[in-house]
């Protein structure tokens, strides 16, 4: 009776210790990030495949967001701005050996257009394969940001054999790395694609692991268990930057934390009320104490967005006293408990946010306290992220705290159009209309001249800064922890690629 359990125990211990203790130092780059691989469909996990260099899009984007050639070697636009013609790379091949020809690209784009994503919002009339290596896209109206939309991860080009109907059953891309192992939702492994049409990467093998807890990611970096850890929480960032076991890179990215305001609410309809809320926020203190980086937002767009950031726009200030004065002007008088009252109703709002990004509930807690200083009572409802668009549609939203990604498409104009269009947007303005802002925005999509574009952009940004349909709070810093043995690794501000193709092992 006693013999069996002892043998079983020894066996269990043996197998669990047999594995190589640490996976470092075997030439494989271990990448860790918070994004789960939900499935094979580009709309659900397309960004992970693009980041790992398995798939490619027609057009790429450089650090400033300007389109550069990818699968399309060159492109041209007709005079009326409605017909785009693309020349495909001559010797590009899919991982299953099939050539990347116009028919395959058209097929992939047509399928992508049918699914939710920015492509479905572009005024495309038809996509046709003209020759073997030439593709045309006909628009119903001129649309300057088309190139940027084609660079979006959901518009990735997969081999015809990857699809059955519109469903994807295998990830067969054309990128520098081939998919060799796939274990959703947690991990996948890739290998260098020997016959890649572009520059061959130096890294041979890489693994991707999705880890949702920030502490675990930080510990994996510190213990050398992972070579490239994407996205660290504030506290780990301060800890790791002090340690010599790991290099920490940080760059501001086109994602802003902002407060979505329902201008339809009578309490918030007046511009002064929104300005008062903005003045009550100590952005400096928040950035230093909570987010731990110097990116207190002075306007909607961070400097990393280049052309959209207006250097000489007056920054948003922190003046609680002026905020109280403004609210007093609007007829609000402090009640017994310090909360402002006006004809019997308290100045009370619900702040909806979501815990998927760990810092949002933290910022909500700080805002709640700072708003209480000027007599505004906030109750926090941290729930599923879809509540914000849902409450936008049924008009029940008061305030929404969110982290809006302007880099879904290299040129933020795409996100601007969906968020601040005439009827507002799920993640943008709500019940707010500013005629000259709308005019400037729509004209921007049609003209190509840089100077005139810059003027229109300054006008649009000034309108938002003045009217405050959304109140910017902080600009995001993306941080990455890299193993010292890895060189050439960086951060793509547009979060499109981990930069696997540029990495190499230090000698």
């Amino acid at each position: 009776m006693i013999r069996t359990p002892t043998i079983l125990a020894a066996l269990a211990l043996a197998i669990s210790l047999s594995g190589p203790a640490k996976s470092a130092g075997d030439g494989v780059v271990d990448i860790v990030a918070p994004f789960e691989i939900k499935g094979m469909d580009p709309t659900t996990s397309g960004d992970v495949f693009l980041r790992m260099g398995i798939v490619e899009t027609l057009v790429e984007a450089d650090a400033e967001g300007r389109p550069i050639p990818a699968l399309a070697k060159a492109w041209s636009l007709s005079e009326d701005g409605k017909l785009w013609t693309f020349e495909l790379q001559p010797n590009a091949r899919f991982h299953d050996g099939a050539p990347v020809d116009a028919k395959a690209v058209a097929n992939a784009l047509e399928i992508a257009r049918g699914k939710p994503g920015l492509l479905s919002k572009t005024p495309i009339q038809s996509i046709d394969a003209v020759g073997d290596k030439q593709l045309t896209i006909r628009l119903t109206a001129p649309f300057a940001p088309l190139l940027a939309f084609l660079a979006e991860s959901r518009a990735q080009v997969l081999a015809p054999s990857a699809y059955t109907g519109s469903d994807v059953k295998a990830i067969i891309g054309s990128g520098p790395f081939k998919l060799t192992g796939f274990a959703p939702p947690q991990s996948l492994t890739v290998e260098r694609n020997p016959d890649y049409w572009g520059a061959k990467p130096q890294i041979e093998k890489a693994t991707y692991l999705s880890v949702s807890r920030a502490e675990t990611r930080a510990l994996m970096a510190e213990s050398g268990d992972a070579d490239y850890v994407f996205n660290l929480d504030p506290a780990s960032r301060t800890r790791l930057s002090k340690s010599n076991k790991v290099k920490v890179l940080s760059v501001s990215i086109p994602r802003s934390v902002m407060l979505k305001v329902n201008a339809g609410r009578d309490v918030l309809a007046d511009r002064k009320a929104r300005e008062a809320l903005s003045l009550a926020i100590d952005r400096e203190g928040l950035a230093v104490a909570v987010l731990r980086y110097p990116a207190a937002a002075t306007q909607l767009f961070p400097p990393s967005l280049g052309i959209w950031h207006d250097k000489d726009l007056p920054p948003l200030a922190y003046e609680p006293e002026k905020a109280k004065a403004l609210l007093a002007e609007l007829g609000w008088t402090p009640g017994a408990d310090g909360i402002l009252q006006k004809d019997g109703k308290p100045f009370a709002l619900t702040l909806t946010t979501y815990p998927d990004r760990p810092e949002l509930p933290l910022i909500a807690a700080v805002l709640q306290d700072q708003m209480a200083e000027i007599g505004v009572s906030l109750t926090i409802n941290s729930t599923n992220s879809s509540e914000i668009p849902a409450k936008h549609q049924d008009g029940s939203l008061d305030l929404g705290l969110m982290a809006r990604n302007f880099a879904l498409v290299p040129d933020p104009i795409g996100t601007m159009l969906t968020d601040y269009g005439p009827k507002g947007g799920d993640w943008g303005a709500m019940n707010w209309s500013n005629p000259d802002f709308d005019a400037a925005l729509s004209k921007l999509t049609r003209i190509a001249d840089a100077a005139e574009g810059a003027e229109l952009r300054r006008e649009a940004v000034a309108a938002i800064q003045n009217d405050l349909p959304v109140i910017p709070i902080a600009w995001y810093q993306q941080t990455v922890a890299i193993s010292p043995k890895l060189e050439g690794a960086g951060i793509d501000p547009y979060e499109r690629s981990f930069g696997l193709d540029k990495m190499r092992w230090a000698e």
Partner: protein, 311 residues
């Protein structure tokens, strides 16, 4: 013995019915628009908007009358037809079985480790009640029961992975990844099982047949090996059945901390993302798994102690 197994079968059917009803009723009352939640689960917070939600709503036939939907679901259940997950599009059975596989692997090693740590210490303490080992074990197990799993997990990572560099922190491709999460779970289980073993050993060593073993002329070790071990094994193994309940709580936390692709972690996401078929399928299978494991425990106990009349 057959009576026991028959009892378990009835329990399994009851569980199936209850789990089915409960999850079905609950998913009907979950607040928040189902389509929006699923769109958020599927496309992530950057992309989810009313257009995506509308597309999802069209896909699902959400507004079936409750009773029809219940009937349909029960019918599917009988045929073990769990449908497909709304978020990942994979068949639920496939998703749950892979994730359940990971969780079972983790749970098995955790239980094995806990059996190696808890009961031996408990038995030693039980042989000398009130001794130094006994008193220190009480403090340590109380301490372990007071520490939440994620704090224990963090401590273990810092000790074994950071300072000693013995084991990798997370991931799941080779056995080395299994050790730290399993150890975290095992410590939680051992903190309780060593108390059970101690009390069992103490009461067995006071029984008449234990003393008779001594007066027969057997040495302390021979009495323990012949009579102590088997009689102590029964309460320990019966307690094992109860431990599965605590295991699930631990598994969810440990899977999240160690990024282990298990069922607990997936279940939390499914509930957040309102992935109804996934919730129902996972709950149903986990319920049956519990019953099967309890039946296994009963069989094991019967093997050791064939007396019929144990409650």
């Amino acid at each position: 013995m057959i009576r026991l197994l028959f009892g378990r079968l009835v329990q399994a059917a009851l569980v199936a019915l209850m789990v089915g009803l409960l999850t079905f009723v609950m998913t009907r009352f979950l607040p928040g628009d189902l389509a929006y939640r699923i769109a958020a689960g599927r496309y992530g917070y950057d992309i989810v908007d009313s257009a995506a939600a509308a597309k999802v709503a069209a896909e699902l036939s959400i507004n079936q009358p409750a009773l029809v939907a219940l009937g349909q679901w029960m019918f599917d259940l009988v045929r073990f037809e769990f449908g497909t997950s709304l978020i990942s599009g994979q068949p639920v059975w496939e998703e749950v079985s892979t994730q359940l596989g990971h969780t079972l692997k983790l749970a098995a090693v955790a239980i094995l480790l806990s059996l190696l740590i808890g009961p031996p210490l408990g038995i030693l303490a039980g042989l000398r009640p009130g001794g130094l080992l006994d008193r220190s074990l009480i403090l340590i197990s109380t301490g372990m029961r007071a520490l939440p799993q994620f704090v224990v997990g963090l401590g273990i990572i810092i000790i074994f992975s950071l300072t000693l560099g013995l084991f990798p922190v997370a991931g799941h491709d080779h056995p080395g990844h299994l050790v730290l999460p399993a150890l975290t779970l095992a410590l939680g289980l051992a903190a309780v099982s060593n108390r059970v073993a101690r009390d069992a050993m103490r009461s067995v060593s006071e029984t008449a047949f234990y003393t008779f073993g001594r007066t027969k002329g057997l040495s302390e070790w021979e009495v323990f090996r012949g009579h102590g071990l088997r009689n102590v094994a029964v309460p320990i193994i019966t307690y094992l059945g109860v431990q599965f309940v605590y295991l699930i709580e631990g598994v969810v936390v440990v899977e999240t901390l160690f990024a282990w692709p298990g069922i607990g972690h997936a279940l939390v996401h499914a509930i957040f993302g309102r992935d109804v078929p996934m919730i129902q399928g996972a709950a149903f299978i986990m319920g049956l798994l519990f019953v099967a494991l309890n039946a296994l425990v009963d069989a094991l106990c019967h093997l050791i102690d064939p007396r019929e009349r144990r409650t």
